[in-house]
């Protein structure tokens, strides 16, 4: 956190290159979040770039009241929501709709550098599972399970109470379980 603030001060003082340090420190989290929400690597990286650019432009407005990571995460959430809203018009929000529309060509678009130990098939299942969840449930599940944020951090990011986070998470897990069971059957 201290390092983030120091880098922010440097950028504000005119040292653009210090921003690379911030990008380096937070890229995995932002790209991971975008990947979970958007469902493909190419879009996720484009969105993550836009998010870092937005953060850079808005750096003057960052007061340091919240952690930089929380502030950045809020930008990421809002940006991804906007993208999904735009996508909704093109009926791409649903993963199944995307598969229908693009068929095999989708494989190329979803070629994520495999950092984990999941098989290709398993990864595809998980993307489908995420895409089938309501947007709110997907967000909270990604933040908690995918990003490993604490309840307090999620509350700060989503702007709700701790109980609200717990309730949303419970509903999200339930929804994910139901969809997983439905697919398994």
């Amino acid at each position: 956190m201290e390092e983030d603030l120091e880098l922010v001060q440097q950028v504000r003082a005119g040292a653009r290159q210090a921003y690379a340090g911030l990008v380096r420190r937070h890229q995995a989290r932002v790209r991971g979040y975008c990947l979970g929400v958007l469902g493909n690597a190419a879009d996720a990286d484009d969105a993550a770039q836009e998010i870092f650019l937005k953060a850079y432009r808005g750096l003057a407005g960052f007061r340091g009241g919240a952690r930089f990571s929380t502030w950045l995460c809020r930008i990421a959430i809002n940006h991804c929501r906007d993208l999904l809203r735009k996508r909704a018009g093109r009926r791409e929000e649903s993963w199944d709709a995307l598969i229908e529309a693009e068929g095999e060509g989708l494989e190329a678009r979803t070629a994520v550098p495999p950092a984990g130990r999941l098989s290709e098939e398993r990864r595809r299942q998980l993307y489908r599972l995420l895409a089938a969840l309501p947007a709110g449930a997907r967000e909270v599940l990604i933040l908690r399970e995918g990003q490993g944020l604490r309840y307090e951090e999620i509350a700060a990011v989503l702007g709700c109470s701790l109980d609200g986070v717990k309730a949303r998470l419970k509903r999200a897990r339930q929804a994910a379980r139901e969809r997983k069971e439905a697919r398994d059957d």
């Binding site: 950028v11 990947l35 750096l59 003057a60 984990g116 999941l118 399970e145």
Partner: protein, 116 residues
């Protein structure tokens, strides 16, 4: 399903799925786009101003503003010579009059001045 089992079933695979490896090309991509953006904040504003106004103009501009301020200060400064100083000056140059009497010498103007 217990919390731990649920975590095993959904949480851990999700964490694996979204565990994106750091990529220096991504950083370079962001920085390349940032290079063409202005620096944020008031320092950025100053830098943009500097880019628009040639650097050599700054000292000239500063000197011109300073000169104008000096001129303004001088123009509106109150006259430092007060009536008291004039009186002392006059007393020093005139012979001391006897108490209650008009000065023995002096021009007509001076005499008039004493009688006022």
């Amino acid at each position: 399903m217990t919390d731990e089992k649920e975590r095993e079933a959904i949480g851990r695979p999700l964490a694996d799925l979204l565990n994106v490896a750091p990529d220096e090309r991504f950083v370079a991509g962001v920085m390349a786009r940032i290079e063409v953006l202005p620096v944020p904040g008031w320092r950025g504003w100053l830098r943009r101003l500097e880019e628009r106004i040639p650097g050599w103009l700054y000292p000239e501009l500063g000197m011109a503003v300073a000169a104008f301020l000096v001129f303004l200060a001088a123009a509106f400064q109150p006259i430092p010579v007060s009536a008291d100083i004039l009186l002392v000056d006059r007393l020093e140059r005139s012979p001391a009059p006897a108490e209650g009497l008009l000065p023995a010498t002096g021009t007509e103007e001076e005499l008039l001045w004493w009688t006022e």
